[in-house]
């Protein structure tokens, strides 16, 4: 069973696992159409309910965003931005559902040191496997979108699973199912991209010249995509990165450093081994022992004089 199942994975953290070439699954995707979003937080609510998560009751900080950030219990969060469009003079309330983007090239998975703690299924979902999570927080550094959160209660990393449990039985993620206005839709990645085109046509007809799809190539595309009214300025949407990619520092750390470091240490050890076998022993000779006695006597005598 396990052997077959392993073919359902595309990537597994901290292993040399390579996906078998023989099987290809449908890649799934969630499309979040910001232009249809009313910021009702049904997605947040459905996420908490479905995943049996409950958050502490917070406070109001003068904005609609609640909780104020993603947490180990809040895997998705509406972020509200009030923006006055300098071109039209109109106020736009840009409301973005934040959460894991399920990158095709996931930085979290790359950074993760624990084998099997982060997996990517063939359908594109990037999932955290708590059983194997060690709570090191490396995924936090690996993620270009600042998504994973480490629980202080159990020291495990948490983020949106794209409801892998629901998707595995053929259902849409809880947020997508709940979304009252259909701002969140779910399907195969191809279908979502096709559908997104119809949305762009509609948006362009309403004057949003720069409407576009957010499926950033820097991370190999994502399995959570946005339709943005102003795709040329993703940072308007509560700081959505313009061109996200795994940090160079992380690439260096998890790439060159990892190998070079191992090589250096290995080389040093090997050098020592070779040296030990070929080099002349550095040992004290009998002559030196005798010289030492003389020297000690001399110096001791000198010491007594002084």
């Amino acid at each position: 069973m396990a052997g077959l199942q392993s073919q359902d994975f595309a990537r597994i953290s901290a292993t040399n696992f390579r996906p078998p070439d023989v099987r290809h699954d449908f890649e799934v995707a969630k499309l979040i159409d910001v232009s249809k979003c009313i910021g009702c937080k049904a997605c947040q609510s459905a996420c908490l309910e479905w995943n049996n998560l409950r958050e502490e009751v917070g406070i109001n900080r003068g904005v609609y965003d609640n909780p104020h950030d993603l947490t180990p219990n809040t895997w998705t969060l509406m972020r509200f931005t009030e923006w006055e469009n300098p071109q039209s003079g109109n106020l736009e309330w840009l409301i973005r559902k934040d959460g894991c983007m399920h990158c095709a090239d996931p930085g979290c998975l790359k950074a993760c040191p624990s084998p099997g703690a982060i997996v990517q299924y063939n359908n594109g979902i990037v999932d955290f496997v708590s059983e194997h999570c060690i709570g090191c927080g490396y995924c936090v550094k690996g993620c270009p979108f600042n998504i994973p959160r480490i629980s202080q209660a159990d020291h495990k990393a948490y983020k949106c699973t794209l409801c892998s449990d629901r998707v595995s039985v053929g259902q849409a993620p809880a947020c997508a199912k709940a979304c009252p206005t259909g701002a969140i839709v779910f399907g195969t990645k191809k279908a979502m991209l096709d559908y997104a085109q119809t949305r762009l046509t509609d948006l362009k007809s309403r004057g949003f010249k720069n409407a576009g799809i957010y499926d950033p190539p820097g991370v190999g595309g994502t399995h959570v995509m946005y339709v943005l009214q102003h795709a040329d300025q993703p940072q308007l949407y509560a700081g959505l990165p313009q061109n996200p990619r795994i940090s160079q520092v992380v690439e260096l750390w998890k790439g060159l450093t990892k190998y070079a470091g191992m090589a250096a240490v290995g080389f040093a050890a090997a050098f020592a081994f070779v040296h030990a076998t070929v080099a002349r022993r550095n040992d004290v000779s009998r002559a030196e022992d005798r010289e030492a006695e003389h020297l000690i006597d001399e110096e001791a005598a000198r010491g007594r004089k002084a």
């Binding site: 953290s13 901290a14 292993t15 040399n16 040191p113 624990s114 084998p115 703690a117 194997h132 999570c133 060690i134 709570g135 090191c136 927080g137 490396y138 936090v140 550094k141 480490i150 202080q152 020291h155 940090s247 520092v249 992380v250 260096l252 750390w253 450093t257 990892k258 070079a260 470091g261 191992m262 250096a264 240490v265 040093a268 050890a269 020592a272 040296h275 030990a276 080099a279 002349r280 022993r281 550095n282 040992d283 004290v284 000779s285 009998r286 030196e288 022992d289 010289e291 030492a292 006695e293 020297l295 000690i296 006597d297 001399e298 110096e299 001791a300 000198r302 010491g303 007594r304 002084a306």
Partner: protein, 231 residues
């Protein structure tokens, strides 16, 4: 500290007990840190986390061992720092390092308690431990995750990794030197070295020690080593 004439040999006290304890605490910490660090550093070495009861334990133990290391090394540092200031002789000695590696020390200047290589090891250890500790704080997610930006933590990781590699290299040199230069290890196990070893490697130091006086510990100085009951 003293030179002692024992039954069969002459020894020189090199490290008192408190230094030896410190050294070994440091050494063990370092090894544990190296193993646990390696487990977190490279996936192929993740199996090493089993020695600590799994990845989670490794994750929380590693930084605490680092704290132990820092404490013991700090004491070690205060115990040793005065012998580790650089001298002209050290420079000259370093010029002949190739001969040392080949087991020939005839053309070297007389050296005090530590030679140039040892001093370099000392200072490299000091620097890398400081760097490791600082970068370690930055990436100690459980307590300091909120105190540093993610970008700072990313740099922390790479600095920590590089410093750890550097330190491992130093440690390898240090350990290998201990084995290669025969008669060295007893300094940290028994606290003393033979007179010949001191004469060969640290003659200046030997002179100083001898000048302090020689303790004759022989019960029957003339009869030599035949006093013990037959085994």
């Amino acid at each position: 500290m003293a030179v002692r004439r024992e039954e069969a040999r002459t020894t020189v006290d090199r490290y008192p007990g408190r230094v030896r304890v410190n050294h070994w605490v440091t050494a063990i910490s370092l090894i544990l840190l190296a193993i646990s660090g390696a487990a977190l550093f490279h996936p192929s070495l993740f199996f090493l986390s089993s020695f600590f009861g799994g990845g989670s334990n490794t994750r929380w133990l590693h930084p605490w061992i680092g704290v132990v290391l820092l404490a013991s090394f700090t004491i070690l540092f205060t115990q040793m720092v005065r012998y580790n200031f650089w001298t002209k002789a050290d420079t000259k000695w370093m010029g002949h390092i190739g001969e040392v590696m080949s087991g020939r020390e005839e053309n070297l200047p007389e050296i005090g308690k530590y030679n140039g290589a040892q001093k370099i090891v000392f200072w490299l250890m000091t620097v890398s431990i400081i760097v490791l500790f600082i970068s370690g704080i930055v990436i100690w997610y459980e307590y300091f995750g909120a105190s540093f930006t993610i970008e700072q933590q990313r740099f922390g990781h790479i600095v920590h990794a590089l410093a750890a590699v550097a330190m491992l290299l130093v440690v390898i040199v240090h350990i290998y030197a201990g084995f290669y230069v025969r008669g060295t290890i007893s300094a940290m196990t028994e606290g003393k070295v033979t007179g010949g070893w001191a004469y060969r490697h640290h003659r200046l130091w030997l002179r100083g020690e001898a000048r302090e006086g020689v303790i004759d510990e022989r019960q029957t100085p003339l009869r030599g080593h035949n006093t013990r009951p037959a085994e």
